[in-house]
Symmetry: C2
């Protein structure tokens, strides 16, 4: 028999043209939304219903770029020059990461994300079996990939490629379909062209999308020009990268020509406003990308450069920064920012059946407690969610039809143990 | 007999050179901090102590510019051109505000601010007796002033000036000293020079500081040049405004000469990053102001242009934006951003005995719950507070030595009633 449950008296974020919210009912069966509408769905008049009064139901937020295990380095290096930060702080510590560190670092991040209303995250890192294990146990949805840096001997390159392929084979479609995978060479500036081409071939062979970092800093763009005579988007197009469904992270420094390349190849961009600001990388040309038809979603990047994994903050930053920097107060309006954090996120990571509250979509959704001062008056719930809400307004979270956060507590994870183990991992990294 | 209480096992944000936090004890007697230090204060070994384990104690945040009653218009108009927003949305509604609206709108804001860790706010509005009443009842600290727009007949101008003076006389030093007042002509572009001069004279007579909006938008600066042949800071200096202790809000569009004028006259600037971004006013020259020696603090502005009153967000925006826009990742480091939200805030509103945890300061402080994923690992509490924390991490709040928020609930205000009355006020404004 199928699990079925009905929500009544709820306010549901649908973001349809002319209708941003619906007040009424939502019906879930197993892992799928069967109905969202103003009246009770037919035949369900006698079904016992969950009272959604005082709750705003939204699609779960989708974090399209990050490195979850890096939460172990939260606050370990701030307010520094990028190269100093990488060379003196991040890389020496990351080199010491064991699979145990990745397990607990990822657990810490998944806990923070779930409680903060994120239901899907993309993760590019190492020791990915551990990440998949956390996803499996926690009930979250994730798009996972072994990120490979190619600045190493050919046999090590080959080993990394095989790891990436094996990981994808082992885990794609696992955890009741909550895990999907991608192929992911780290970036054009850390991967020789031939190495990138091997990942493109593997993505073709496995029929998977591709992900990489691209044009985060002006310096890496210049290096690409020095090394390969051209800018990163042109370079990646030549290597066949965009012949696959793909998503690039950052895309801060782009020419008009590169934006046209991304649009023509239907490449999605994961905009990471918090991380880009904190590392002083710059401000991405989000309005130009959107005008060209590029799907722009949002990511937190790793917690070491953010320093939280709060997707409400990324949604709000997307809505605020581009207004302030362009001088246009109509830039990235609230509904567009929220779509970047939900439906465009789903499109970016090639999970077309998530990111919206509508019949036929996977039941990944969150309930915000609107009985709070910063949601009053009840003028515009989309505005309130984007400009006023925060991660701790999330009261309940469901992924794939199953509740994972209830009354603000994560019911699938041992919160206290995760904090303790993550702290121990950090101390271990410091002492080794 | 004096009230006395001791906190043990706490982590205290002191932001002293070379020492950002102290782990140990804090002693409060009545409304004053008597001691902060690693060891138990002498003679208090037998005193029963409050266990501060798992709590980060910080000075309360200080919001140096706003219009609290405007929370009634939260989400009523977003993503619009400034003039359309003002003329079609804000001004028609504000013209209908009664003292009842101001009472409940301010209550809504004070509730949000207190629960979010703000212990002092500056408020410039109308019906200020109502605002003072809310401050008196809620236990908050505030710097209040009747903001006066001078685009009206002379008799109305005179009435506003008299109201402002009377308000200051009635309320300065009231509510156990929690209320102080200033004189506040609204702005150079809404007040004729002679009207501003009258406020300056009143500030001299009453020995009060002055506050005004200045150079928020490029358009108002241009209007100042058109009307008076000079830019706002030069104009205000000529009118004697800076002969009093003063604080200007926004200061987005400033020349080097104007920055020098502010520095020479020791004028404080309330930087409002969230509002400035949302209204697309621009990005203030915060680093240049600080380099020149100007005290820069933080304000939310009214909730209609923010849209919350979350000072953690303003602190974080101050730390993030100036890095991203300048390209310098060392700009506005975490400790500086937190000082802007605390000690510089106190200096800006001329409350020199608040804004720090140190012996002799007023006991205005907050306790954050650090037993949460986004505070792990325990690397750097200042970084965590600035880059990762949010308003709902605030567990307890004390103002003037008295607890006002306990376990996340405001114990001095009726939360449910305030939400209900504020909603009713909004609906009344819509229907009138």
């Amino acid at each position: 028999m199928s699990r079925k449950w009905l929500i009544k008296n709820g306010t549901f974020v649908v973001l349809e043209p002319g209708q941003s919210v619906i007040k009424g009912y939502m019906l879930i069966e197993d892992d799928v939304i069967k109905y969202v509408g103003e009246s009770c769905p037919e035949g369900e008049e006698e079904t016992e219903a969950f009272d959604g009064s005082g709750l705003l139901f939204s699609p779960g937020l989708i974090n399209t770029h990050g490195h979850a295990a890096m939460s172990l380095l939260r606050g370990y290096g701030d307010d520094m020059e990028l190269q100093t930060w990488l060379q003196e702080k991040m890389w020496p510590m990351e080199a010491k990461f064991t699979s145990n560190d990745v397990y607990w670092g990822t657990s810490l991040s998944v806990l923070e994300m779930l409680k903060g209303g994120t239901t899907t995250f993309l993760d590019m890192y190492d020791h990915m079996d551990q990440v998949a294990k956390v996803v499996q146990e926690s009930g979250m949805r994730a798009v996972l990939m072994r990120g490979a840096i190619g600045l190493c001997p050919e046999d090590v390159q080959q080993m990394k490629l095989e790891e990436a392929v094996q990981f994808a084979k082992d885990w794609h479609g696992q955890a009741d379909g909550r895990i999907t995978t991608m192929m992911s060479p780290h970036s054009p500036y850390t991967c020789p062209p031939a190495f990138i081409e091997k990942f493109v071939q593997a993505a073709h062979d496995l029929d998977l999308p591709l992900h990489t970092h691209m044009s985060e800093t002006a310096a890496e763009v210049q290096q690409n020009i020095n090394d390969y005579g051209t800018r990163p988007a042109i370079h990646l197009e030549k290597l066949g990268f965009f012949s696959r469904p793909s998503i690039v992270a950052h895309g801060v420094h782009l020419t008009d020509e590169e934006i046209e390349i991304l649009a023509r190849n239907k490449v999605a961009v994961s905009h990471n406003p918090g991380s880009n600001l904190k590392l002083a990388s710059g401000v991405a040309r989000v309005m130009d990308l959107q005008k060209a038809g590029v799907v722009v979603s949002l990511g937190t990047d790793g917690a070491a450069s953010n320093n939280n994994l709060d997707m409400f903050e990324e949604v709000r930053l997307a809505a605020l920064i581009h207004k302030g920097v362009s001088g246009d107060p109509t830039a990235v309006p609230a509904d567009e920012a929220l779509k970047m954090g939900t439906i465009y996120g789903a499109q970016s990571v090639y999970l077309q059946n998530t990111g919206r509250l509508a019949a036929g979509m996977k039941a990944d959704f969150i309930a915000l407690d609107t009985d709070q001062a910063h949601f009053v008056p009840y003028t515009d719930f989309i505005s309130h969610m984007v400009y006023s809400a925060g991660p701790k307004d999330v009261k309940h979270v469901w992924v794939n039809g199953a509740q994972v956060v209830k009354n603000g507590s994560c019911i699938t994870m041992d919160e206290e143990r995760i904090r303790r183990e993550a702290q121990a991992c950090f101390e271990g990294l410091l002492s080794r």
